[in-house]
């Protein structure tokens, strides 16, 4: 499992770069590094379905970021500024939240099964009767499209809503009168 730990360190370093770098295109590329590391980690924990989806989705995410940044600006003018009084209150709240979160995580990790030996109370049934009941050899497919197909239906609705939202926000139809009234 040493390769997984190396990958996790690379992921955390790329996340710091993505958050702190001054050029926004570089930040988007560093976010891509995090995403591809996640894809390799999915392969290492035996989840090839997730790895395929994550790789392709990550490519498209970087393309979307590049499409937006090339049409607007890719310089982050807020990085080098000194700390202003406005930022004090959010910082205190964030520090408080991190402490609280740490306590809850410490409690929760004690309850969680150790890494590498899951409980598998529901999944044992899926593994035992999955192929006989659904006829699909890929058990992940049999879970998302047979045992838990309502999840997939909900996902389709959320995706549809997001696409309609993007088109509504971006398109220019019906905004002309708005501009005329302002000017």
């Amino acid at each position: 499992m040493i390769e997984l730990y190396v990958l996790l360190v690379a992921m955390l370093a790329a996340a710091i770069v993505a958050i702190e770098v001054k050029d926004l295109l570089a930040a988007a590329v560093a976010m891509g590094i995090v995403g591809f590391s996640v894809a390799i980690a999915f392969i290492l924990v035996q989840a090839p379905d997730l790895a395929i989806v994550q790789i392709v989705v990550e490519i498209l995410a970087v393309v979307f970021f590049a499409a937006v940044l090339l049409r607007t600006t890719h310089r982050d003018s807020t990085v080098s500024r000194r700390i202003t009084p406005v930022m004090v209150f959010p910082s205190v709240v964030f520090g408080f939240f991190v402490v609280l979160f740490g306590v809850i995580v410490a409690i929760a990790l004690r309850e969680l099964p150790a890494f590498g030996s899951p409980a598998m109370r529901v999944a044992g049934e899926y593994l035992a009767i999955g192929m006989e009941q659904t006829g699909a050899a890929n058990l992940v497919a049999s879970v998302i499209l047979d045992f838990r197909a309502y999840d997939t239906l909900g996902e389709a609705v959320v995706l549809f809503t997001a696409v309609v939202g993007v088109l509504t926000v971006v398109r220019q139809l019906g905004r002309k009168e708005d501009k005329g009234r302002e000017e």
């Binding site: 392709v56 393309v63 006829g135 699909a136 890929n138 499209l145 997939t152 549809f160």
Partner: protein
């Protein structure tokens, strides 16, 4: 949006068809091998996005692509809901896996409605993401500066 150089166009011409076919393969074998409707749909969208980026487009073509993507996304969503409603027609639950024992396991013809639902989801995901790309990157929605 503008097209790219001759090298990019040549490579895109070679690769885009294979990318589309690979997406179709992943969708159709989603119940046997890793992959499925989500991965295949995103790959198909990536093939269309590659062609759009490499060859560019004028406003008229973009209008057509936009209509095409919205029609296909609606078809995918409707197809999935109709597959679910067929359970009612058969007198069972919504999204019941009909014909689950038709065909032999580990062959392409197996899995009941799972391959069909994969196809519907791939149409929905692919067309939806291609529509998002058109909205974010195309000249029809050009910003004034």
């Amino acid at each position: 949006m503008r097209g790219m150089s001759l090298i990019v166009q040549t490579v895109a011409r070679l690769v885009a068809g294979m990318l589309f076919l690979f997406g179709c393969y992943i969708v159709l074998h989603g119940h046997l091998t890793p992959g499925g409707g989500f991965a295949g749909g995103v790959l198909i969208a990536a093939a269309y996005i590659l062609v759009s980026l490499a060859f560019g487009s004028v406003e008229n073509v973009e209008q057509h692509r936009y209509t095409f993507s919205s029609v296909f996304e609606s078809m995918g969503g409707l197809g999935f809901v109709l597959l679910g409603l067929m359970g009612y027609v058969a007198g069972l639950d919504f999204l019941n896996n009909l014909w689950a024992d038709y065909g032999t396991p580990l062959r392409l013809v197996s899995g009941g409605i799972i391959p069909l639902a994969n196809v519907a989801i791939s149409m929905k995901v692919g067309a939806g993401l291609f529509g998002i790309f058109l909205a974010l990157g195309a000249s029809r929605f050009v910003m004034k500066d």
